[in-house]
Symmetry: C2
Subunit: 290 residues, 2 copies
């Protein structure tokens, strides 16, 4: 399918401590020719500059939950991230960006994950292509509880890249290089498709659909009472069967998964999600046939 994408934005540092995206964006700013393709122009953007300088996820509130259209239109919402969200939204519109690649990293062992925020056929074909050229790439449905408030929601077409496990505030050379390779593959696809030569993709696409979020066990004061079980730590995308251990309390008591079907947990033990009440998301593994 030929989609006439003209202008792409690569965004790093939507979360300031996620350095893979920050340093890739800086590299592309230094060598802008690397991300140009025939008839497709690409700009780079460092989203949350203050948080990048501070080395934190955000200053006042999570920037990547500030792009809900109602919030963007609300002049009352003017803390730091709410203000820059309005600026970024304006810039994406002014620059006529029709595709965004938003770069993230996670402390969960998500490997090379691409997150799709809608089921546009173009994105499904692109995802199928990316998993075909690198079978390690996983495709995840956008968590529905984000409620359209992410930066990627500024455009219909785009990809959120989520790589891990990596701690905040540091670079991992292998993940850096794999993420860069993925970005080039996306740009190549866009350019080839535009010329009516879409790269051949497989006939189906395996993806993970989010079923529910699971919080840590907490006491009445909201303090967590248990940790991710060692047998589940770093086991993102691996099957979790009913009866398998999920948590272990500080006193060593095991807590088991009581669902009635196999789940595939993702975002297990993401540091930024402790405050959001998310220990992991449970997903269902599905196959989409073209």
């Amino acid at each position: 399918m030929v989609v006439p994408i003209q202008r792409v934005a690569i965004v790093g540092g939507t979360h300031g401590g996620e350095l893979t995206g920050v340093f890739l964006a800086k590299k592309f700013q230094q060598f802008p020719l690397k991300i140009q393709r025939n008839h497709v122009e690409t700009i780079t953007l460092l989203a949350n500059e203050k948080a990048i300088t501070m080395g934190t996820r955000y200053i006042d509130t999570d920037l990547n939950r500030a792009f809900n259209p109602q919030d963007l239109a609300n002049p009352q919402l003017m803390n730091y991230e709410q203000s820059i969200a309005k600026n970024i939204a304006r810039r994406i519109q002014q620059e006529k960006i029709d595709f965004i690649i938003d770069l993230h990293s996670t402390t969960a062992n998500m490997g090379l994950t691409i997150i799709l925020h809608n089921s546009h056929p173009y994105l499904l074909h692109l995802a199928a292509y990316l998993t075909q050229i690198n079978p390690n790439v996983k495709v995840l449905q956008h968590p529905p509880d984000y409620n359209g408030s992410c930066l990627i929601n500024l455009v219909e077409l785009g990809i959120t890249i989520e790589v891990g496990a990596i701690a905040n505030g540091l670079l991992d050379a292998q993940l850096f290089q794999e993420t860069e390779y993925l970005i080039h593959a996306i740009l190549d696809y866009i350019a080839a498709d535009k010329q009516g030569k879409p790269p051949i993709a497989s006939e189906n696409l395996t993806f993970y659909r989010i079923q529910k979020k699971v919080d840590y066990p907490r006491n009445k004061q909201g303090e967590i009472q248990a940790m991710i079980h060692p047998q589940l730590q770093f086991k993102d995308y691996k099957p979790l069967y009913p009866g398998n251990p999920m948590f272990i309390t500080f006193d060593g008591k095991e807590i088991f998964y009581v669902g009635d079907s196999t789940a595939y947990p993702v975002f297990i033990n993401e540091a930024a999600y402790y405050e959001k009440g998310i220990a992991m998301y449970l997903t269902q593994k599905e196959k989409y046939c073209f």
Copy 2:
């Protein structure tokens, strides 16, 4: 050697984002009997409460570089961490604490490391005992560039525990349990030694002595130009031979170790050390015979 230790302090949260120590200290506060021994009383302390609440390493400056005696005596130094350093120093003195266990974690793959801030025979014997009961325990000399400015420097006798690899802002159940086990072993040793029954230790002690610190390659603006090489990432305490790769630039150029002898790097890719100009410390492996 019988050393009449009366009162021990277990300190968590000297760095606010290092949750292993924070949650162990909270657990001990909830179940104080777990850390009492015959004739040895133990208190717990959450050092940097504001940073713990914020989930950051520190608020104004690194608390664990604020305990230099000159700085403690300087009434001009009154930012948040400088102030609480003075309070903590006063409390340690008032409570007549004669042994500190300071709990830290690191994004480097340091496993279970104990750091010795001096060569007191008591500490060497204790370290030998701990490595005997758990051969995974590594013993590291305190980095000399800390200049006596760490919390542990408030006392002659004490142990800094440094566990990893773990990202800031999250808990790893296995490292949590292993750290707790180590703390109990230290308390058991202190109590047994006090009663004239020191646990039997081996006749020698392998430890790592810091030779130098190595910074990331940087440009004139101080921006880093390379990452830890994938072959070195997570290889703390493993031999690094002259000619082995150390860094890789953002463009994929390898940078090699040019020393003239085998080094054993530690604190490789510690997130908090990017701002301190430390990509790793190179150590020498030594054996101390009693």
